[in-house]
């Protein structure tokens, strides 16, 4: 039976590159698949691009490739990545330059675009597509003038086309997390664009491994203290068979573990209705999935299926939504809680004096309820007089960066002018701009992926 062996390279922007380096040395993979994009990432990348037109991709792809590229070239391992983010063309150019620097002439670098509809929003609206928020039903008009980015979660079609044309490295914009795995599955296993059950199976398998170490023992809650050598965690190595089953393993001689438990935890991660896992390529059904431990660190995945892909594709727009200002400070015994509350009053009064504006504020006590807030865990009481220390975090959502900055500047006097026993006030924090996410739908016929392939040439050939 035909099969393909896929390795998980990176699972998010900024992920460690060591697991991939170990994988290309020790595991006999054919593809290294990397998902760099989370919901907020596209907004951040677009902001970078607006300041510097050559940026807007996840720059971690370059050190990543520096670490794995020679070995991948030597062993014929192809690399599929959505590091292109908001600027796939620029990313692909940098990748070509790196190949030239390494002297890897003849390699083919593909660039897959077509997901960015920012310049077409008004045209799409004019054609009767409402682009209303799928979570809230609100019309786009509510935030239209604040939209900074609009990208469609596109499928694996462009990746398949790139591979058919001999690409060694495929750089994409916003393709789905699953697509960077499903593309090579389709290409290698001969699955058609309408083999819904197989595409659903492939999507479910991709979901199991797209978060890297989360499937191989990272964050494993079922027995976190049983997982050995987490600092050298191995990332998933997955053999996918043409019948839609797979064996999930990891790089040999690495930390962590692959068990039915670790894979189950990843399977339920960020899934809504498991019988209807909507993606651009299919509607996967993982509700009846079977996981079997067939050997140490080997789990067989079966009984995943799928249905026809939806007629619409998901669009994520990002819109400007103000700024966050934060302050943090610590008080110690005696009367740590009373002092913390006096410190908060001090800050509130000073903010009032400078005409501070915020749409929402939040107080959390770190070590007590910072994960739960007062909604679930009560704030410390003033009767808790023997507490050794208490850490206060104050955060505010503000209309302007100037207001957000005031949170910090007005908390600084707590060092010298406020209640006794204060410390840990911190250095100047960056002011964080907020982006709201606007999920909406677009009919699939509005979106066409484009594939451009560049062959890496020697400098003199380029000149000629």
């Amino acid at each position: 039976m035909k099969s393909v062996k896929l390795g998980t390279g990176l699972a998010f922007w900024g992920d460690s590159i060591r697991p991939a380096i170990e994988m290309v040395e020790r595991a006999d993979i054919q593809y290294l698949c990397c998902d760099h994009l989370a919901e907020l990432t596209m907004s951040i990348l677009n902001k970078q691009k607006s300041k510097r037109p050559d940026l807007g991709y996840t720059t971690d792809i370059i050190p990543f490739l520096r670490g794995v590229l020679r070995k991948c070239h030597e062993r014929g391992i192809k690399i599929i990545s959505n590091a292109g983010g908001a600027n796939p063309e620029s990313c692909a150019r940098e990748v070509v330059k790196l190949c030239q620097e390494f002297g890897l002439y003849g390699m083919k670098v593909a660039c897959v675009t077509g997901d960015d509809i920012m310049d077409r929003i008004d045209d799409v609206l004019a054609q009767g597509v409402a682009l209303e928020n799928t979570d809230t039903g609100q019309p786009l008009a509510e935030i239209r003038d604040r939209v900074t980015q609009a990208n469609v979660y596109t499928g694996c079609e462009g990746i398949v086309e790139a591979l058919e044309n001999g690409a060694d490295i495929v750089i994409c914009g916003r393709v789905t997390d699953a697509a960077v795995y499903l593309g090579p599955m389709r290409y290698e296993l001969g699955w058609g664009a309408e083999d819904w059950e197989l595409l659903g199976a492939g999507t479910g398998i991709a979901h199991c491994v797209e978060c890297g170490g989360q499937a191989t023992g990272g964050l494993y809650s079922g027995g976190w203290d049983e997982m050995r050598n987490l600092p050298s965690l191995g990332y998933p190595v997955t053999t996918v068979f043409e019948n839609g089953e797979a064996i999930l393993s990891k790089t040999p001689q690495t930390g962590g573990g692959v068990t039915v438990g670790t894979v189950s935890e990843q399977l339920v991660y960020e899934v809504m209705d498991p019988a209807n896992y909507l993606t651009a390529d299919s509607v996967a059904d993982v509700s009846q999935i079977k996981l079997d431990q067939i050997a140490p660190d080997q789990v067989k995945i079966s009984n995943v299926t799928g249905k026809p892909a939806p007629a619409t594709l998901k669009v994520n727009m990002g819109y400007r939504a103000g700024f966050v200002g934060e302050a943090q400070f610590t008080y110690t015994w005696p009367d740590a809680v009373k002092k913390a509350k006096a410190g908060l009053e001090f800050l509130a009064e000073r903010l009032k004096q400078v005409d501070f504006k915020a749409s929402e504020t939040r107080v959390e006590y770190i070590g007590r309820n910072s994960m739960w807030g007062p909604e679930l865990v009560a704030n410390p009481g003033e009767d808790e007089t023997e507490l050794d220390e208490i850490v206060v975090r104050f955060a505010a959502r503000c209309p302007t960066a100037e207001d957000a900055r005031k949170v910090f500047t007005e908390s600084v006097p707590l060092y010298n002018n406020g209640p006794a026993g204060a410390s840990g006030i911190g250095t100047r924090p960056p002011i964080k701009e907020l982006f709201g996410i606007w999920p909406c739908l677009i009919p699939r016929e509005f979106v066409t992926q484009k594939v451009a392939i560049t062959e890496v040439l020697q400098p003199e050939e380029v000149a000629a």
Binding site: E265, L267, V268, M272, P274, V286, G436, P439
Partner: protein, 103 residues
């Protein structure tokens, strides 16, 4: 007192303002108890004001897992929330603390 943690392990994550929490039974016996006692209504009540919207329960019987999809659970969404745990990464641990009653 039996807690969910005695019977199951889990994980949680975000999609917009939705937090989903998966819990996986440690044994077939534990699965029967989870199915009966860890209902969407009880989960919703257990989280009080932290979850503003609905809680829907889905079942994955072959891996003995329940998936709770909680709307309006992330203070407006991971990118907007002022919470330290803006992505709901540890919300499942609060579910694991839920007491089941020993009737």
């Amino acid at each position: 007192m039996t807690r969910v943690w005695d019977l199951a392990h889990g994980r949680s994550g975000d999609k917009g303002d939705v937090c989903n929490m998966g819990v996986i039974a440690r044994s077939p016996e534990a699965w029967d108890v989870l199915l009966e006692k860890v209902t969407a209504e009880r989960v919703k009540a257990h989280f009080g004001d932290m979850i503003k919207g609905t809680v829907t329960r889905y079942e994955l019987p072959n891996i003995r897992a329940l998936n709770f999809v909680c709307r309006g659970a992330l203070d407006g969404g991971g990118t907007l929330s002022l919470r330290s745990d803006h992505l709901g990464k540890v919300m499942y641990t609060w579910l694991l603390r839920m007491e089941l009653g020993d009737e």
